[in-house]
Symmetry: T
Subunit: 152 residues, 12 copies
């Protein structure tokens, strides 16, 4: 079976679109998932989508993605800035990872400037809101196509 | 139904009163819970009380408290100093949070001086042992009463 | 004579309630003093209350409190962050000190994160506005009662 | 006339595709320009494309873009890490800027971790090679369309 | 009565002109005061002039200036670099403050580079010797005139 | 019943021997477990062996080990560098802990130089690959024997 | 010919008065130039006035000013914080330089606190808006007069 | 009249010998003063001795010592570590100052390692208890004798 | 001849077992040497054992070990934290080095946290007292055996 | 045609020999150029010599040198300490670069201690005045000769 | 035999009085030794006096002093700032050590501000030139007398 | 007798040319010595050449060079980065010192970026391998000739 795209979301992203919709917009994480699924279906690429508040569960999922995913889109939330364990898991699973952020962490508090995930991510897309996910998905689909055309 | 007070306790606080009672006192977390429950009952305010060693579970509980709690008393233990995810969850749930500590972290090792939780907590009570919880509870009860008298 | 509770207030706290009442509230330091006095009178505990903009005067008062106070409530204002002399005076007088702040300094500018006073204070109450004083007073009254019941 | 998309490239990017093609790929900056032009032509959006090694010229161009550009794609190269003047120019021109990098600077030397440009950029795309530009262009085209549909 | 200009001088400025006149010049603080008074008299603006070595007295004077001064010229001397209490007092009194220095602190030892006062001062004049005061006075007089012409 | 040796393994150690065997060797964590079990069986000392990616679960297990383990061998993986909660749990359980690492963290990236676990561990063995575990086990067995011979 | 006053302006100052006039005021750099020219004409002192976004051009101009200027007013904009080359040029030309800023950089972001230019400037005027230039001009005119009266 | 030796003591030194005599010894500051007076009387050198908790008063006294003292012995207590104003006053008065400490600040908390006073003191004696004063006095008497023998 | 194991001990380790035996134990460095010799003799591996307080002599010995030692056990004492020269010598001699410490330096003062030696050591054993040496010796013997069995 | 030696000089070096000749010597940059030309002519190696105050122009010239120079002598002046763009250009052009300084930057202010250029330069010659250039030229000529004798 | 006073001098102190006598004075280390010997002879206390440029030799001598010295006067020179090994040796030998410096290191370069020796020295005398030794000797003689009068 | 050139080499430089010749080249320190001797003989300048691993011996040799050397070439190896004692010895001997390095320390690990020796060396030559010595020798010979021609 064709390997799919895994989208993993970290802490508090479940509140997206629910909390203060007048500020953060009304797009929920469910709706982002729907948009990505629709796009993947057109390409015949399976999509797996998770949200968890647990650092350990993100690592469990990355390990699982090791065999099953062609590309991982990871929005690590605040764990980007504190989790060396997440960084090591990304290095270990040897699947290309794209770090995704709704806002641009570098434009916020100083403690959000450094990302352990960015150190090992293949690419980064940040600051475009829900569009960040769709841009990252395009990159992932492009990589899968390239790989299938030239499997070396 | 009236919204209640949620008391969330972080890592290793379950060992309170059990470990080295000659030093840390014989008051267990269960007994603190009983004191707080007795006080809340008198006011007719529901009390929810949890302890967990998992950062992710603290975030799950904060999310749950979002709809159900009027005030959260949070003793984050060591996660105060390392968890930006916890900080973000507090910001997201928009319920006033009081940070509670048995001892005074600023009087201990340098790595306990900074608290990510304190940056977003409405108030802080630290250093009074079990009394820290009771003082924080009084503040919480006061806020609830004020809110009910002047719901704007 | 029974030893009392000394409440010492540092720089610019005299402007409380006068300056920008629409923002900081209309409770003046005089009114806080009145609230605390009324509460102490009920318990028969003497209350001494001072405000000064002078670091040296705070130290003079702490020295004086050495013989006369059972507990000191200290709102050091900005001296919390810069005065090692104040820290040493607290250590020297051997009276338990509770650090009180109207707002939560850890939620403000980085230079307010560290408190030399907190390093030697027995307990800290911060962020509850005028209520911070009343909570600290309850703790102080509790300690006095405990001490009188068990003078060892 | 419709406002266009300006693509500004900083120091040494002119060597792209020429230098060590076996490592950095054979796509030259000219070819990236061609790809972007082709895409913009289809949408009827004007494209302006520059490369310069001069910090001052980047600022001159940003000033010029102030009236003429709907969105700026900026690959500041190493100036990202050292130029506060560039940062201020971006803030001054009030045109949304997308920071673009071929590689992921956060995965390189520590002195590349901080970007003054990222502090004021609306979005960031990094690490996808030439694809970084195409993803950023999609975002820019999306914003232009949104703006035209809802000019408020 | 018209509000005046208060000129407050911090530690060791009383030695000006007395100590090593061959180096620091023979202009004493008294003479600076006379120059400023003469200029203010011509404009009919009252001048109040103080020097003190006490941080607390500077704060007392700022509090007093709150009602009586239109503008404060403050030469905080070394307290510029260490006094958060002074900074807070300036913020509290809501009178525009101009920080004045005889020499240019940024051209001296590293510990003189940061000024807590500068963070809240409206303007800074430094490095012109006695002329620093006269330039600051011109600015203050200009502000008073503007305010009187357009009291909003 | 005789207290045993608990071996606790942190994040991504489950991938040992599976991932890139040509580089990291073909010894899996299962095989290390088998080696240690065989050695313990010879000594009649019970062995408990866990791996988890969850910081909270490591703390849960340490709490459980409090009553049941004579010595804990802990390979905290990346949590060594970020988890104050783990550090506090080790201090709380009062069982001697040996920190074990396959590689030598001090010879790697700067962010791996500091270990919160090492601050409270009785001993450290690092850099010997699977042999690190066997050396630590010998130390643990030695301590148990000493303790049984001289229970004071 | 009498040596004149050179006024050199750094990056993005050309946008003054044009950009967001409701915030920064409607005074343009051209108008500031006109004010200074009018004042200089009255004194018979030539005025040279430049704005450039290029660090190198600022240095070229300083070199040129070496022979032709009696005093330089320099508003280095953001180059104040990053350009050691500018600092060295000021030291090299041996003409007294007054650093001028419209706003007060010390009251802004931390990366604006240090000025390489201030380390070698004779005086600093900051925070008075367009008035900063006029105050600096008065100081410059005063110096020229003093020099002409006492050419030693 | 012969210039004397001034001994200035900073915050909380008045508690010496009174507080915890079993630890800090029973020698009070009064007794140290008596020892020094007796020694000075033998040499016919006037002794002036002060203690104050006020930074400003220490500066006032240093200014007064400027004309009257041949040498100043200064035990600045905690102000050594925080007071740039004190440092500047020492520089200003041009009387040789010996910094005296009962204990050795470098052997205590990190924030006591740096002394602004030591930067401008001629000599330092620390760690010998009351003997520190007597050793410093001997040095001072030696300097006075040298000066009188060779007034150049 | 078979290459042996060299055990090199740094400053003040000669005082082991002599100084404060009630605290550090009565095992002297001589006795540790005897234990290691006895163990090596059984394996027929030569043992060379040195102690020196001189950084230069440690380097001389490492150079000598370059040809003669199969493995070096190095207890660098305090030179671990300060000697880049020692670090370079270890890199230069290309013999595997095991860093040995009686106590666990990471559990002590901050200045003992970083070890230049650890950066280039193959393995580290710390915190087991005299047992640290015996564990390191086992590792060394294991490596020698492996090497002899598989000399590639 | 034989590839030559390019000598590139950064900001304010044009003032060499003109400014304060009694201090910096009377050798002008022109004379250094003449000395180097004379030496190169004897060897039949073309010499290209530039001075510019513009960071961007230095990068332009390095790019041009990419095809035409065998070795580059670069005196980056103050850009050594601030320009990552210059560093990247050196890396990009793949021509060996020798960093040349008249004085020894490490013996001056702390902000001159670090050189981004030195990180990628093949060799460094500093502190010998005009002789620094001649020594660097000898090294360059030696490399060219070696390369021609052994073109691999 | 009565235990004596050991005076140990570190690197380059042998050049004292020889090098630049017009600046550092003409007192040589030999003459200081003679002064101390004369004073000790009067008290009947043996004096041992050494100078060495070798850190290791200073440690050897401290070890030797362990049995033979009542007090050590140590002028560690530059090793004060870099030698943790020296610090550990002082701790190990359990003889009271007085740190002596001719000049006041805190008044010099920042890298001389911290002394590892001061952290473990009983007392410090610095800044009095040769007199520093004589003052320290008086303290040492006083301690010996006290100890002999009250050997507990 | 004519003063000569002293070449002093620090730790591990004796291994040059022996260790990994395929990487570091086959030129040994002996051969460098021979090259320099041959060159000096031609000029009639005595050459003294030493290598030692001991910091103290380097200082002893510098002291000896004080009277006998006209110039010192010093390759301090790793002591460049850690030895303030070496720095002080160079300052003390008042002979011009050229710091020589085979590789360019600034292009290596961060802890090699700062050189205490460079702070007091007259010139620095680094990164040219054995050629570094020959270039430094030319500079030294030039200085000797200048000095002999113009002995002032």
């Amino acid at each position: 079976m064709r390997k799919g795209i895994w989208v993993l979301n970290g802490p508090s992203l479940n509140l997206l679109g629910v909390r203060r919709p007048e500020i953060y917009g009304r797009t929920t994480l469910k709706e982002i998932q729907a948009q990505l699924e629709e796009r993947c279906q057109r390409e015949g690429v399976p999509l797996v989508f998770h949200q968890t508040n647990h650092e350990g569960t993100l690592i469990d999922l990355l390990h699982e993605a090791r065999e099953k995913a062609a590309v991982v889109l990871l929005n690590p939330g605040a764990y980007a800035h504190t989790s060396i364990a997440l960084r090591d898991a990304i290095e270990a699973v040897e699947v290309p990872v794209i770090e995704v952020h709704l806002s641009n962490p570098q434009a916020r508090e100083p403690f959000r400037r450094h990302s352990f995930v960015a150190e090992v991510a293949r690419g980064v897309v940040a600051g475009f809101g829900a569009l960040s996910y769709r841009l990252a998905l395009e990159a992932a689909l492009g990589w899968i196509q390239e790989k299938e055309e030239d499997p070396l």
